[in-house]
């Protein structure tokens, strides 16, 4: 990473790390959950920005991660033999077998990463193996999101139905609603974001990263150079799934709820808009886009609740027509290594129009 870029990253990280000291508790909690969501956005940059396959179902993996942790939190603090509240209301008399392993927080935390990664990997393998690509892939991911959301709602007794899982017990003995726990969660979120950002940055510089871009530019060409492209695409999609799972778990822990409303088609499309606004090829753009759109959403919907969907639609149109590279593209253009930039690398850009 060029030195200046590295310093900018460090500066931003510093400002975020000091968040608990300069932000109100309300804004800090917002920032915390948006940073969690931006981990998912990083995954979209990998698969959509670099690999070129559009996922309209990232909510699935967000949900799987969120539910995996939430299942543990529902079971935590229950007396042995007791059932989570919604199971009792639905008339269940014993815990379903597939809930049992989530009693252990370590198992649940592992599942947060592994279940979405495995489901994403398996899904991608089935689809890519059949040479399904482009818009058909996107439609399948969307169908997957719709299917999972429908399944979650219909299986009230096992999933909490429409309301999802809420009203959590403690994690490792700590109640997540405590003020100090919220700060810790913020720190954990920031740490997870840094780790995922670092991993993705490293990936972008590896041969694997270049292969992904090459597959986007010309998959047949890459195949004709002797590569089987399927495993690389599957690995990228599984990684994006794992990122989404981590995001979902951190979100559920901070907000105190995970429900089908965060899994289905509409939230999945909203996730794409974060990345589209930020610039789909840039990791920094993905994070920035996620924060901007979500703070914008919070601000607009508290001022004029009915307007947000229109704003979001308008935003998408603007990005697609005027700014296809998003904000990240705008930044990259300013710092693109061209003849002029080489001649005077330190010249500041004139500010504003």
């Amino acid at each position: 990473m060029p030195r200046r870029e590295f310093l900018v990253h460090l500066l931003v990280l510093g400002v975020l790390a000091l968040g608990p000291w300069w932000l109100s508790p309300y804004n800090l909690s917002l920032l915390g959950r948006f940073l969690a969501m931006s981990i998912l956005a990083l995954g979209l940059t990998v698969v959509w920005g670099w690999g070129g396959f559009l996922s309209l179902g990232q909510g699935v993996f967000f949900g799987l991660g969120g539910y995996a942790l939430a299942m543990n939190l529902k079971l935590a603090g229950l007396a042995p033999g007791d059932l989570p509240d919604f199971m009792v209301w639905s008339g269940l008399d014993h815990l379903p077998w597939w809930w049992a392993p989530f009693r252990h927080p370590v198992v649940a935390l592992a599942a947060v990463v592994l279940v979405p990664a495995a489901v994403a990997g398996l899904f991608a393998w089935l689809v890519f193996h059949r040479r399904v690509r482009g818009v058909y892939f996107a439609l399948l991911t969307q169908a997957f999101a719709l299917a999972l959301a429908t399944l979650l709602i219909s299986q009230q007794a096992y999933t909490g139905g429409f309301n999802g899982l809420t009203d959590y017990g403690p994690l490792f003995g700590v109640h997540l609603t405590d003020a100090s726990a919220q700060t810790t969660l913020y720190a954990v979120t920031l740490g997870a974001l840094c780790a995922c950002y670092g991993l993705a940055t490293w990936l972008s510089r590896s041969h694997f990263g270049r292969l992904l871009v090459a597959i986007r530019d010309g998959e047949n060409r890459v195949r004709c150079l002797g590569y089987d492209t399927v495993p690389y695409k599957v690995a990228a999609f599984a990684l994006a799934g794992a990122f989404a799972g981590v995001a979902g778990a951190l979100f559920a822990a901070q907000v105190g709820v995970i429900s089908p409303a965060m899994v289905g088609v509409v939230p999945s499309i909203e996730m794409l808009i974060w990345v589209a606004v930020g610039g789909r090829e840039s990791l920094a753009g993905a994070v920035l886009g996620c924060l901007l759109v979500n703070f914008g959403k919070d601000w607009v919907s508290s001022a004029m609740p009915s307007v947000w969907l229109f704003v979001m639609g308008g935003l998408f149109i603007v990005v697609v027509t005027v700014l296809p590279q998003g904000i990240g593209g705008l930044l990259a253009r300013r710092s693109a290594p061209g003849p002029a930039a080489d001649a005077a690398p330190m010249t500041p850009e004139p500010a504003g129009p």
Binding site: S206, H207, R210, L211, N220, R221, R223, C224, L225, G226
Partner: protein, 255 residues
């Protein structure tokens, strides 16, 4: 196994519905040789290459590389077995640099261990440098492939095919759209490749074909019409009939 033919195409037939694009065609290529494939449009030249690299499936016949039947292998395995093709339309990875394109094509980049490396190994660097020199692109190494001049794009593609380490290189119109001087350079480049590879070239440009000084096979309606030197082929009445009305295509416009 250094003796014996490199590639044997045996009674190959490729059909699209009722139309036979390749019709019972047999062809043998020797190691470290150049062979030129000519023929009027629709003769089946590109289809033959498609069949060899596994892009279309033949309905009959087989393709044998060094004794191994590759007829039904998936495309990427055929490359690993030793055949790589340069396509007619430029197939570069435009947003990657010249160097990255070559590094990607490098056979040493296949597999997971190589995929997770952020830097090419010493071995790969040396090889890529060699190919940059071979193709005359050393000065362009950091340019995105999409911004190269047309002739340079063609050379880069040839370089990528070379980097794949395949023993047999299939070049589909490597000199298309080039200036006279560039065509000569390309012909010389192709000849230099024969120290390590066999090359099968498709081209329409007779001046280019002449400069390759290689045996020529004429394809017509999916069949092999004639094999021989360019001179022999040109004199052949059957070949002239096939190019009827366009016999001037067989002449060298630079004579």
């Amino acid at each position: 196994m250094t003796n014996g033919p490199l590639l044997q195409v045996e009674h190959l037939t490729v059909s699209f519905d009722d139309f036979k694009a390749i019709d019972d065609l047999s062809l043998t290529l020797e190691p470290q040789s150049v062979r030129v494939l000519i023929g009027p449009n629709g003769a089946g030249k590109s289809t033959l290459l498609d069949a060899i690299i596994g892009r279309v499936r033949p309905s009959a016949g087989r393709i044998v590389l060094r004794g191994t039947d590759i007829t039904r292998m998936p495309a990427h395995r055929i490359v690993r077995a030793g055949i790589c093709r340069k396509f007619q339309t430029p197939g570069l990875l435009d947003s990657l640099t010249v160097y990255e394109n070559l590094a990607l094509a490098d056979a040493r980049g296949r597999g997971w261990r190589a995929a997770l490396r952020t830097r090419p190994t010493r071995d790969q660097q040396v090889r890529t440098e060699q190919i940059l020199q071979l193709t005359g692109l050393t000065a362009e190494r950091h340019r995105p492939a999409g911004r190269l001049a047309h002739g340079q794009k063609q050379w880069l593609e040839i370089g990528m095919v070379v980097a794949s380490d395949a023993e047999l290189l299939l070049l589909d119109e490597p000199a298309a759209g080039m200036s006279h001087g560039e065509r000569e350079q390309t012909a010389d480049l192709v000849q230099r490749l024969t120290t390590r590879h066999s090359v099968l070239v498709i081209d329409h440009d007779m001046a280019f074909v002449e400069r390759l000084r290689a045996p020529v096979s004429v394809l017509h309606m999916g069949r092999l019409l004639k094999e021989g030197t360019l001179q022999e082929v040109r004199q052949d009445p059957q070949v002239r009939a096939v190019y009827l009305g366009r016999a001037d295509e067989l002449e060298c416009d630079c004579a």
